[in-house]
């Protein structure tokens, strides 16, 4: 007898997400993922001063505000024809880089680790699902003590962002044309010392812990494979080329399909609303997208739209960046780190498409990035400008493509009468946690859940492990609403 399993709310993720799975013979045969909060940001942005978008859109998400600040600022740079000066580019990278480190450490220790290491016996560690905790007691205890240590160390990463952004969360200093902060040697020093401490933590604690868990939970390098198509816009600009598709980025832009690297043409992105609670219409490009809620739509089960590239679902995030940047050795440091970890764990490259692969990719990019930032911060030039001035045009359109810690993030603006006429954001979690589309293709997380082992439907810990490996951030997925009606497709049970 197929059984329906509901996990709602799924905690230890950012924001509100519910999971419904149909389990038959111990395996998931159908899965639905629904966002449960609708905030209406696109409507809020209409009619505002375009410059305000950088501040407003950061409030999509307090966990990755820097990414929204940068995507939005680049969207406006593009619309207004601005090229930030050297310092503006370098400082933006540092603000974002520190936020990657913060976000990844927080995700592993505070959101994911308790799925593998048994916490102590008091709240917030209890109550909990009794998963198949397999780590020896001593190792579990170490990881829980690193949970505590990580609380402190992630704060240092936030301080690093704030050194240049003014404050975190919600950067004050990122503006169209660059940044506002005056570079000074005390800021460089403050940043460098904290970075040194973080690099020690990443090398000696974070990466070893991920490797330990990956070794013990070896079956999870087969579980949660997902759609195995990957998309990344890339991040961290290394030159000032105005055309984003020609720009050199530390993490490069690209797709990987069937193991091969392919370019990204942003014109081929569409959003499908067949199962989302928006007025029914054919899939449209985000720049022509409208957001008209239809709270009673038949067949709707999520307030996330379904972004697709050439009509197909794509996974985004650290694993996607790992795939794109290790194909053709696009980022040699990351490619090398991945090969080393796979060799140590005696795993094959295919194993990266899994729960453990996502944790590994996240940890290794944290290291590679932190190493690079030690050079970047020394590229700051004292007494040189941080921003170029702007003039607001009557009408313009722009696009900002940038990888947030959780993956591909796109902002699109159109300006009319010097006001925002339309603003759309397609955020990483909208890609990953998207619902089925008009062709009934599942979203990447839904697909990763298919086939997952669930021995006891009352205790579906494997599902939580799979979903959390994507690091979903529902606060970010601005299009969500309530799953009302809960159409659970009993029809699809075989």
């Amino acid at each position: 007898m197929p059984q329906k399993v509901i996990l709602d709310p799924l905690t230890r993720i950012e924001g509100h997400l519910g999971i419904e799975a149909v389990v038959d013979n111990g395996r998931v045969v159908d899965a639905r993922c629904s966002g449960t909060l609708y905030r209406g940001f696109e409507q809020i942005l209409i009619g505002r001063d375009p410059l305000d978008a950088v501040q407003i859109t950061q409030r999509f998400c307090g966990v990755c505000p820097a990414a929204h600040a940068l995507a939005s600022a680049q969207c406006l740079d593009n619309a207004l024809g601005l090229v930030p000066p050297h310092n503006g580019r370098v400082i933006r990278n540092l603000i974002q880089g520190a936020n990657y480190i913060q976000s990844h450490i927080l995700h592993f220790y505070h959101l994911a680790a308790l799925d593998y290491a048994r916490g102590p016996e008091f709240p917030p560690f209890i109550p909990r699902f009794e998963a198949d905790y397999r780590l020896p007691a001593k190792v579990s205890q170490d990881i829980v003590s690193h949970y505590v240590q990580a609380l402190h160390i992630r704060l240092k990463a936030h301080e690093m962002s704030a050194v240049f952004s003014g404050k975190m969360p919600h950067c004050a200093s990122v503006v169209p044309g660059g940044v506002t902060v005056t570079p000074a040697v005390d800021k460089v020093t403050t940043f460098l010392w904290r970075l040194k401490e973080l690099r020690e933590f990443i090398d000696n604690v974070y990466i070893p812990d991920v490797l330990t868990i990956a070794a013990v939970y070896r079956d999870y390098s087969e579980i949660g494979r997902g759609c195995r198509r990957f998309l990344s816009y890339g991040a961290f600009d290394l030159d000032s080329e105005p055309d984003v598709q020609k720009r050199t980025r530390f993490f490069q832009m690209g797709r990987v399909v069937d193991g091969r690297r392919a370019p990204v043409d942003p014109g081929r992105i569409t959003e499908d609303v067949r199962h989302a609670w928006y007025r029914e219409r054919p899939p449209a490009h985000p720049s022509r997208e409208t957001t008209e809620p239809d709270r009673k739509k038949a067949g709707g089960y999520s307030w996330l739209k379904a972004p697709r590239y050439e009509g197909l679902a794509y996974e985004v995030g650290p694993l996607a960046r790992a795939m794109v940047n290790s194909a053709d050795n696009a980022n040699p440091a990351l490619a090398k780190a991945l090969d080393g970890a796979l060799a140590q764990l005696r795993l094959r490259r295919e194993n990266l498409c899994s729960v453990m692969g996502r944790h590994l990719a996240r940890a290794l990019e944290t290291k590679v990035l932190a190493d690079a930032m030690a050079d970047w911060v020394l590229q700051i030039k004292l007494d040189e400008p941080v921003a170029v001035g702007h003039k607001l045009p009557e009408a313009a359109a722009g696009m900002g493509l940038w990888d947030a810690p959780r993956g591909a993030l796109g902002h699109w603006i159109s300006i009319r009468n010097q006001k925002i006429e339309r603003y759309q954001a397609v955020v990483p979690t909208t890609w990953n946690a998207s619902p089925h589309d008009g062709k009934e293709q599942p979203g990447p997380i839904e697909e990763a859940l298919l086939g997952a082992p669930v021995e006891d439907p009352a205790n579906p810990f494997a599902l939580a492990r799979i979903v959390r490996s994507f690091d979903p951030c529902i606060a970010c997925a601005v299009h969500l609403v309530t799953p009302r009606g809960r159409l659970l497709a009993s029809a699809r049970i075989v």
Partner: protein, 305 residues
């Protein structure tokens, strides 16, 4: 306790929890059950509060927030181990068992359109439970409600025009539901960790603050009585007539729309992120994030009003 560098000292488990285990034995420790619920929010206030340095976040969530005073975080959706019913049951159980004694912390505004259907948290018998319903269930039995961040206090960004979800701050929602429980607002977008810790300490050590200690917007005066402009580090530029006319220039940011003169907060003396920086010190105009009118009354953010 300060953490030594990761490479040299991996603090063993028992040591990490020693203060707490010790505390459990001493009967002098007062315990406070906490329910922390995130409604229409960006999680930024939770992320900001865990940046507290004195006390450390370890003190706050794992041992004592103040010597002899311990919080029990029975519900916090981002931090707790449980999920699904297990988690929401913990919230209900706390409200039942500790009626009149728990502190209810609300982060985010509450959507009220169509009975609050735009924001739900968990489900019962296949039906989603709205955030508005959680307010109805959890607010009446609380000893006090702390509205953390500008969204919870006044609606903030979540209620910005045209406010498609008809979101409201805690006080307005309680008024709507005719629930009468003391509310203390701790605004900020996000809320500063010190403002949060200080307000909690005020309640634990001295009880609910009397009206005279709060301003007209329900904020503790010790943090919010003066404007940013009152104590701004750029006042000398203002006095000397040095004004920034574009981003990245150094000078008083009046011409760039700085909202310091209309904004009540102690950022200039407190600063952010362990004191490494704050908006104006990064030459970024204050956008008035602690005010009831944020963001609409301050828009356009970078134009003089």
């Amino acid at each position: 306790m300060r953490w030594a560098s990761a490479a040299t000292a991996l603090t063993p488990f028992h040591e990490a929890f020693l203060p707490r285990l010790g505390a459990a034995l001493a009967d002098a420790v007062k315990e406070y059950p906490i329910i922390w619920m995130q409604h229409s929010a960006c999680s930024g206030c939770s992320v900001s509060v865990i940046n507290t340095i004195h006390p450390s976040i370890k003190n706050v969530i794992l041992d004592q927030i103040l010597p002899g005073h311990q919080l029990f975080l029975n519900y916090h959706s981002t931090l707790m181990a449980a999920a699904g019913h297990l988690s929401t049951d913990a919230a209900m159980e706390t409200a039942r068992k500790h009626k009149g004694k728990y502190v209810f912390i609300v982060e985010g505004a509450i959507p009220t359109r169509d009975g609050g259907i735009d924001g739900t948290l968990g489900e019962e018998d296949g039906k989603p439970v709205t955030m508005l319903e959680w307010m109805r269930r959890l607010a009446p039995g609380a000893m006090a409600i702390l509205a953390v961040g500008t969204c919870a206090a006044y609606g903030g960004i979540s209620a910005a025009a045209p406010n498609p979800t008809e979101s409201k701050g805690v006080r307005d929602v309680l008024r709507m539901l005719s629930i009468n429980v003391p509310v203390i607002n701790i605004p900020g977008c996000p809320c500063h960790p010190d403002w949060f810790i200080g307000t909690v300490a005020r309640v634990l050590l001295y009880g609910i603050p009397p009206a005279k200690d709060l301003d007209e917007h329900g904020r503790l005066k010790i943090y919010f009585a003066k404007t940013v402009h009152n104590r701004c580090i750029f006042r000398d530029y203002l006095d000397d007539g040095v004004f920034a006319s574009k981003f990245g220039e150094v000078g008083c940011m009046m011409e760039l729309g700085c909202k310091g003169p209309f904004t009540h907060a102690d950022c200039p003396i407190r600063q952010w992120n362990s004191g490494v920086n704050w908006c104006i010190n990064a030459s970024a105009p204050c956008i008035g994030c602690t005010e009831p009118g944020f963001p609409d009354a301050h828009s356009p953010l970078y134009q003089r009003r």
